[in-house]
Amino acid sequence: MSSPFSVLELQPTLDAAAVKRAYYKQLGLHPPHSDPEGFRILRAAYEALSAPGALAAAYLNAPFNLAPALAAYEETLGAALATARAEAAQTATRSAAGTAAVETLSAMTLQQARDTLDGAGVTPPSQ
C-alpha cells in the first residue's frame, strides 16, 4: 500500500495545512462523480493523515530518501570540509615530520644529541 503522502502527491510533511491544500488540489483531478475509485483512494489517504496524531505517524512511516538529504548537506558543507581536510592533511604531514624528528632525538643520549646538532663537523643549516 502506497504512502498517503504519495497519493496526495506531497512530500512527507508535518504541515496539516499543506496536506489540506494537496487534498483539494487532487480532489479537482478525482471528483467523486466521475472518478469514484480515485476519490475513494484520495479520501482514504486524506483521512489517514487527518486523524489526531496520524499525520506525525504517517510522517514517521513515510519512506525516507537518504540521498537527497545527504546531497543537501554535501552542497552546503562539502566544499568547506574538503578545504579543511586538505589543510589538516598538510598540517598532519608537517606534524609527522616533526614527530619523526622528535622520536629520533629522544632516542639519543645527550652526548649523541649534542654531537649531532652542535658537533664540530655540523654546518649550520641555511635559514
Partner: protein, 684 residues
C-alpha cells in the same frame, strides 16, 4: 602523643622499605621509602639510590618507556639529590636528559621545565639543541618545521618494514570570534576522528563565550547531522554519537530543529514500523527526541512518534528509560493525556510506553489538579479517550483523586462523563477488592475471576480460548467454575465489596441526578419513599423526555416505591398531559417493558383523552398509540338489551298459508375463538 607515635612508625616503615629496596635493588621501594624520610636521614643512602636510579633510567630510556621515565622524574624533582649525587657530571646530565624526554613525550610540562632548567649548564655550548628543547617544553608545543629539519632522521631499510609514525596533531584552539567559529569547527572535524570531534565540539559548546555558541553549534550540528546520515547509509550501528552532538547543538541553535527532524525520520526509517531491535537506534532517537521535546510544537510530535513505538523484549527496559526521560522533559499534562490516549487507541500493537506513562503520573507539571483542569477543558473525545485507559490501569486512589479534581473544575458535560468513569472504577474496585472466604486458590484463579467479572458481555459464556489459557496456568475445572460463580455473584450485586460500597456512597449523591444507572442504584439504596422521590425529582428536573420518565418509573418500581411512582406519573400527566408524543412513547414503553397495569391504563386514558381534543388528523404514530391504548383499556360492557316479548306457545302459533312448519333449531356453529389481545399485567 599518639600523633608522634604514628609519625615515628611511618618513619620506621619508610626506613625499612628503603633498606629492603636497597638490598633487593628494587628502585620503586627505595624511592618510596626515600621520599618519606626527612632530608637529614636521606643523605647516607642518596648515593646508593642515585646509582640505582641511573641504571634504571638508562634501561627505560633504551626501551622508550616514557611513562615510566615521567614517573621517575617526579621523584627526581622531589629529591634533587637523586641526580645531583651521581659521581660524574656526564652521568648526572644523561640521567636528567632521559628524565626530560619522559616529561616531553608523556607530556608533563612543569617537570619538563624544571629538568630543562637543571640541564642548562650542559646545554650552554649546544645552542641548537637548546633551541629545540625550549620549543618542545612549551605546553602543547610542537617542533617547528625549520627546527625539525635540523635533526637527521635515519631512513630504515624498507625491507625491514615500515614504522607507522602516529603524529600528535596540535590541538585546535577554540575560536575567539564568531566569524572564526565555523572555520575552527570545520578544521576540528577534518583533523580528528568523529568521536574526538564530537567530544571537543561539546566541550567548546560548554566552555566558550555564550555569544560564540550559536555559530559553533550551527556548524557542528550540521556536521553531526551529515555524519548521522552517512552512518545510516553505511549501516553503521553507532548512531548515538552524531545524534547526541546534533541534539546538544540544537539546544543552542533552534535553526537546527529541521535537521533534527530529518535525523529523526532517517533513524525512524530504520525501524520500518517494526519494534526497536538495536540499542544504537534507540539511543539516537532518545537524544534527538530530547532535543525536540523542549521545542514546542515539536513536543507534541515527539509524543506522536514515541507512543506507538514498540520494542523487543531485550530492548523494552531501554525504551522504558527513554520514555521516562522524554516525559520528564515534557511533563505538560496535555502531552501526557495525549500520549495516554494514543497509547490506548493503539493498544493492540502492545506498545510498551503506556504503562510507563502511568508510572510517571506524579511527574506531571502541576500534578493531578493541572491534569484535571486540562482534561475538563479538552474536547469530549479527549476526555473520554483519556479517562478510559486511566480508569483501567491507574492506581485506584490516584484515579479517584483525579475524578474528584475533575468534578471540582468541570461543568455539567464533564460531570455526566464522569458518571461512566466512576462506574467503571467502581466495577474495578468491586472485582479487585473482592476475595472469597478462605482466599483465592491461586493468583491465576484471581485473574480468572477478575477477567470474568469485568467482562462487558454478561450473558456470553467465557471464551474457550480463555478457559484453555487458564487451564494451562494450572487452574482446575472446579477452580474455574468457582471463579465464574463468584464473578456472576459480584456482577449481579449478590456479593458486595466494602471498598466498592464506600465509593458508591461517596459518589451516589452527586451522580444519581446525572446518570440512569446511578439513579437506579441510589433509589434502590434509598431509606424511604421520600428520599427515593427526592432522588427521582432531582433526576427529572430539567428533563422531560420519555426516556427520563421511563428511567424514573423503573427506578421507583425497582426500589418498590409504587405510590411514589404513581405520584410522579400523575404529576407528569398534569404537567405534560398535552404532549401526545411523550404520552404515546411512554405508553409504548410501558407496554413493551411489561409495566404496571395501573401505569398502562393511566397512560392509555391520557392518550385517548388527548386524541379526542386533537382537531387535526392523526399521524401514523399516534394512530398506533391509539390502537395500543384501546387494546390496553378494558372494553366497555354493552348495555343490556330490553327483554323480548314472550313468544306464544307452540300450539297457538298461527302459520301463514303455505308456510312450512318450523323444524328443530340448528345448533349454533361455533366460530373460531377470537384471539385474545395480549394484556401485560403485573409489575416487572
Amino acid at each position: 602523643m599518639a600523633r608522634d607515635d604514628r609519625a615515628e612508625k611511618a618513619l620506621e616503615r619508610a626506613r625499612a622499605d628503603l633498606d629492603k629496596g636497597l638490598k633487593r635493588q628494587d628502585l620503586a621501594l627505595v624511592l618510596d621509602g626515600l621520599v618519606k624520610l626527612p632530608s637529614a636521614q636521606r643523605a647516607p643512602v642518596l648515593a646508593q639510590a642515585a646509582q640505582l636510579l641511573a641504571d634504571h633510567v638508562a634501561e627505560r630510556h633504551r626501551a622508550g618507556d616514557w611513562a615510566a621515565l615521567r614517573a621517575l622524574a617526579a621523584k627526581a624533582v622531589l629529591e634533587p639529590g637523586l641526580t645531583a649525587t651521581l659521581p660524574t657530571p656526564q652521568q648526572r646530565d644523561e640521567v636528567r636528559w632521559s628524565l626530560l624526554w619522559g616529561c616531553l613525550r608523556s607530556p608533563d610540562p612543569p617537570r619538563a621545565a624544571a629538568l630543562l632548567e637543571l640541564l642548562q649548564p650542559a646545554l650552554a655550548d649546544a645552542p641548537r639543541l637548546q633551541e629545540i628543547l625550549a620549543a618542545l617544553a612549551i605546553p602543547g608545543g610542537t617542533l617547528p618545521e625549520a627546527l625539525a629539519r635540523r635533526i637527521p632522521v635515519a631512513t630504515a631499510d624498507p625491507r625491514l618494514g615500515q614504522q607507522v609514525i602516529r603524529a600528535r596533531l596540535p590541538e585546535t584552539p577554540a575560536p575567539v570570534t564568531a566569524q572564526a567559529a565555523p572555520h575552527a569547527v570545520l578544521t576540528l572535524c577534518a583533523s580528528s576522528p568523529f568521536h574526538a570531534f564530537a567530544a571537543d565540539a561539546a566541550r567548546w559548546l560548554d566552555t566558550t563565550d555564550p555569544a560564540l555558541r550559536i555559530p559553533l553549534a550551527h556548524t557542528a550540528g550540521r556536521l553531526a547531522a551529515r555524519e548521522l546520515l552517512l552512518r545510516i547509509q553505511a549501516k553503521h550501528q553507532n548512531l548515538a554519537e552524531p545524534a547526541r552532538l546534533l541534539a546538544q547543538c540544537a539546544l543552542h541553535d533552534e535553526s537546527l530543529i529541521p535537521d533534527v527532524v530529518t535525523a529523526v525520520r532517517a533513524v525512524a526509517s530504520l525501524l520500518a514500523g517494526g519494534p526497536v531491535t538495536e540499542l544504537g537506534h534507540l539511543q539516537a532517537l532518545s537524544a534527538l527526541w530530547l532535543a525536540l521535546v523542549r521545542t514546542p510544537p515539536w513536543d507534541a510530535h515527539v509524543v506522536d512518534l514515541l507512543v506507538p513505538l514498540t520494542a523487543t523484549t531485550a530492548m523494552a527496559p531501554f525504551l522504558y528509560a527513554v520514555s521516562s526521560q522524554v516525559f520528564d522533559q515534557c511533563p505538560h499534562p496535555a502531552l501526557w493525556a495525549k500520549a495516554l490516549r494514543l497509547w490506548h487507541a493503539g493498544n493492540e500493537v502492545r506498545s510498551t510506553v503506556g504503562p510507563e506513562l502511568l508510572q510517571r503520573f506524579s511527574a506531571i507539571r502541576g500534578g493531578i489538579t493541572a491534569l484535571a483542569d486540562h482534561l475538563a477543558h479538552a474536547p469530549m473525545e479527549t476526555l473520554r479517550g483519556t479517562l478510559i485507559p486511566m480508569t483501567d490501569l491507574m492506581p485506584v486512589r490516584q484515579m479517584e483523586q483525579l475524578l474528584e479534581a475533575l468534578w471540582a473544575c468541570g461543568g455539567d458535560v464533564v460531570h455526566t462523563e464522569l458518571a461512566n468513569a466512576v462506574r467503571a472504577l467502581r466495577d474495578r474496585v468491586s472485582t479487585e477488592g473482592f476475595a472469597p472466604k478462605g482466599g483465592w486458590k491461586s493468583l491465576a484463579q484471581r485473574d480468572c475471576f477478575q477477567a470474568l467479572a469485568l467482562d462487558d458481555d454478561e450473558d456470553a459464556p467465557p471464551d474457550l480460548d480463555d478457559i484453555t489459557d487458564w487451564m494451562a496456568l494450572g487452574l482446575t475445572r472446579a477452580h474455574i467454575q468457582e471463579a465464574m460463580a463468584l464473578a456472576d455473584a459480584v456482577r449481579f450485586g449478590e456479593l458486595e465489596v466494602p471498598a466498592e460500597l464506600q465509593m458508591r456512597a461517596r459518589w451516589t449523591e452527586r451522580l444519581a441526578p446525572l446518570n440512569a444507572e446511578w439513579l437506579l442504584d441510589a433509589v434502590e439504596d434509598a431509606a424511604d419513599g421520600v428520599a427515593a422521590l427526592a432522588l427521582v425529582d432531582r433526576f427529572l428536573a430539567g428533563r422531560k423526555s420519555a426516556t427520563a420518565y421511563v428511567t424514573g418509573f423503573a427506578a421507583l418500581d425497582q426500589g418498590g416505591f409504587v405510590p411514589q411512582r404513581n405520584h410522579v406519573m400523575e404529576r407528569m400527566l398534569v404537567l405534560h398531559g398535552h404532549d401526545l408524543n411523550l404520552l404515546s412513547r411512554l405508553l409504548q414503553s410501558a407496554v413493551l417493558d411489561g409495566g404496571d397495569l395501573y401505569e398502562q391504563r393511566r397512560l392509555a386514558e391520557a392518550v385517548l383523552q388527548g386524541v379526542e381534543r386533537l382537531p387535526a388528523p392523526l399521524s401514523p404514530a399516534l394512530k398506533r398509540a391509539v390502537a395500543l391504548a384501546r387494546r390496553v383499556l378494558p372494553k366497555p360492557k354493552k348495555p343490556k338489551a330490553p327483554p323480548k316479548p314472550k313468544k306464544p306457545p307452540k300450539g297457538q302459533q298461527v302459520l301463514p298459508l303455505g308456510a312450512s312448519p318450523p323444524t328443530e333449531p340448528a345448533p349454533k356453529r361455533r366460530g373460531r375463538p377470537k384471539k385474545k389481545a395480549p394484556t401485560q399485567q403485573g409489575t416487572p
